[in-house]
Symmetry: C2
Subunit: 216 residues, 2 copies
DNA sequence: CTCACTGTTGAACGGTTGTATAGTAAAACG
DNA sequence: CGTTTTACTATACAACCGTTCAACAGTGAG
């Protein structure tokens, strides 16, 4: 028997290696949380809030079903963490511009370059909006985040509006721009044949310059 | 025994009446479908797509659980019927204006008077958008409906733009206006403290007049 | 190497999901 | 008034939901 074992074919060795390999990876809680959030976003993108199930998420993340409760407490808490993660990156994007955009073109380009303004994230945003509107804790956080976001846009508008000698309420214009971008993006996501990304950008630029010029 | 029965107290008569009353109402299929659609919209508004369950809907409509399958075939078919019902009313609203709006104010007022642009319908729209983006049959129908909607808005814009002697691509302006309204409405729904309805209307009017004036 | 810590697993739970179906009864018809 | 039609109810079903929890095992400390 012992001799036979020593002549074991290679595939048996592979099987033994596989059997002896660790059954799971043990990583730092923060890293695991990040992976679960990433997997959740993938699930949300694929199936909307209906695809946002413990089974789906853990399968996507390659873990067992118990981990969500262990690391987040509940599925709802996970959704809140997803919101924080996504909005954090959105704010990063507008804050990252070391220099404030110097022209309308640059500003529009900055807003649209956001990676979360991609069609695959439509379902993610729909789910988040629905949750924010209902969840008071998220609503408070959203209010702060939105204010920060608009602050950045308004500052850029105010900067190059002053440069051109026009006088506008930069917060009003920022609100218009943000809403217009959201609306255009939404329609473009729902049916891409209605509107291309380039045309959406073009409409933004034209609207923005009209609003800035029209009010001397 | 017979004598005893003739002296039955009044509450017993009530109980007999109640027991003899029809156990359910038998109405025309179209009417029943309309009621189920109405109940579904209520459920969607209350709990989003998560509240859109057979149990919820039938309880809201006061029927048993079998009726959705019987009248619509499946729950998804019901959602499609809901879309058709809502978008039909939206189109009615813009078509109802016998006279095309003669000013920017009138146009903005016409768009915002739509009963479905109420905050309680946020969850309904979020659910519908998510479904349209995923369901090919709905997407085809939506493309036609959106085209009709934009056609109405564009015609109005073109009419009083010509009256003022300015020359614009009325479809571009209509797209801008619709997107802006959608975006402003969305932000206002998500957090009402950020934006009031009156301010949203005001921003619309100012944007629209700027776009129309700026291009001679 | 051994031990303790804790990240991770996986089964089990009560409850809910959408749909199919057999049977009931309301209402129209002759 | 009896008959027929079919809108409607009510149960059953398998699949799936989020959460709990006891046991397991990877990993670093000693």
């Amino acid at each position: 028997m012992r001799a036979r074992a020593s002549r074991a074919p290679l595939f048996q060795i592979d099987m033994i290696k596989k059997a002896m390999a660790p059954k799971f990876e043990r990583i730092a809680p923060d890293e695991r949380r990040a992976r679960l959030i990433e997997a959740s976003i993938t699930c949300l993108a694929k199936g909307g809030i209906q695809g946002f199930t413990v089974d789906n998420i853990c399968h996507e993340a390659g873990t067992s079903r118990g981990l969500i409760t262990h690391h987040f407490g509940s599925k709802n808490a996970l959704l809140a963490a997803i919101y924080a993660s996504i909005y954090g990156k959105v704010l990063e994007n507008v804050a990252r511009s070391e220099m404030t955009p110097q022209s309308i073109d640059e500003l529009v380009e900055m807003i649209f370059r956001d990676s979360f303004l991609s069609r695959e994230y439509l379902n993610v945003w729909l789910a988040l909006w629905g949750e924010i509107a209902v969840n008071p804790a998220l609503q408070v956080e959203h209010r702060k985040n939105y204010a920060l976001y608009r602050e950045h846009i308004a500052r850029a508008i105010s900067a190059f509006a002053r440069g051109k000698g026009v006088k506008v309420d930069s917060y009003d214009v920022a609100t218009i721009l943000i809403s217009l971008v959201d609306g255009l993006w939404l329609e473009q996501c729902i049916d891409q044949s209605l509107l291309s990304l380039d045309r959406a950008k073009d409409l933004c630029r034209r609207t923005l310059s009209a609003v800035l010029m029209g009010s001397t």
